[in-house]
Symmetry: C2
Subunit: 195 residues, 2 copies
């Protein structure tokens, strides 16, 4: 028997992302976001939703670029901080001690200390209500060698990355890998498929 | 020093969702999706991306409704199965042993056995490439009492829910809660803020 808990934005793990952009003055800025995810395989795209009032919003619209910086547990304080203060009156890189690196692929800065960063060109915006969706085409992903699996792709466990529980307002670490996708539920004789 | 790994859809935790809908024949169907997330706080909305070729796609467009069913670890086989076979020629509820319940809020079925389900009215579609984004307004969330925290909201740990690592094609459990959001990085004297 289930209970109704109303129309809310809870009950599912979300990513914990730090979005990088340059503001009008050319200053590197970051903000934390959890309303986002992968949204297309080809072209590879991600979506992140921002309120229009956020300092980063105009920055991303004007430069048509942003980075998605995936934090690890070691940088949870800096990540949380970037979601609390506003870039309007705070240099968040300076205050947090994080290092801004200029992307050579898009007109946005990324966070040197984070294990994986996704460089995006803004390709679409979608008005939804208090949040606007920014759709970014992934131009490149850069990762610390130490967090790559044997297949050369990032490994969330090696990254020691973080999930956000919006219902409990808590940050969670990754648990253990317990099953192979496109495999554990496969009926006998069925070929592998992709997304 | 970071290495470039190209334009891909890897490096971030994604949700693992099972999307419920009725097809043209009125049959309850489910499919697994990881390209999705929360995308707006007010009105509360979620986004999930599907390929047009998926059996569920036309179903959702026609009924303008879908459910997001959040699996737990105990149902990983059924969840993986629903992403491997097609509803065109398989009754996935029957084959998996899961129970379809007709939502009283939207014209779509939900999965009785999963701890949290989100009932959505389709409000927008966005063409992105091989995937189309389906934006659903959250009309209600239903949850098993046992997975609610003291604040009455779902708790991802109690749910024993799952994240997907697309780079490694693995399912991961939730790790432990290790920090409070909007708190751990708060400068002294700063008030709490929301999303």
């Amino acid at each position: 028997m289930k209970v109704s808990i109303g129309a809310k934005t809870v009950g599912t793990p979300t990513p914990l992302w730090v979005i990088g952009s340059y503001d009008e003055a050319g200053r590197a800025n970051i903000m934390t976001a959890a309303w986002g995810g992968i949204c297309c395989s080809e072209p590879p795209c991600v979506t992140v939703s921002l309120r229009k009032s956020r300092h980063s919003f105009e920055s991303i619209i004007k430069r048509e670029a942003f980075t998605v910086n995936i934090p690890n547990r070691a940088h949870i304080r800096e990540t949380d901080f970037a979601g609390i203060v506003s870039g309007t009156d705070t240099d968040k890189f300076e205050q947090s001690g994080l290092t801004a690196v200029h992307s050579e692929v898009v007109d946005a800065p990324y966070v040197a200390e984070f294990p994986v960063i996704i460089e995006c060109r803004l390709v679409k915006t979608v008005e939804l209500g208090v949040h606007i969706q920014l759709i970014g085409q992934v131009m490149d992903i850069k990762a610390d060698k130490a967090v790559l699996g044997e297949n050369g792709m990032p490994d969330l466990i090696k990254m020691d990355t973080v999930t956000y529980d919006s219902g409990q307002r808590k940050y969670l670490g990754m648990g253990e890998k317990f099953a192979d996708a496109f495999s554990v539920g496969k009926p006998q004789g069925q070929p592998d498929i992709g997304h």
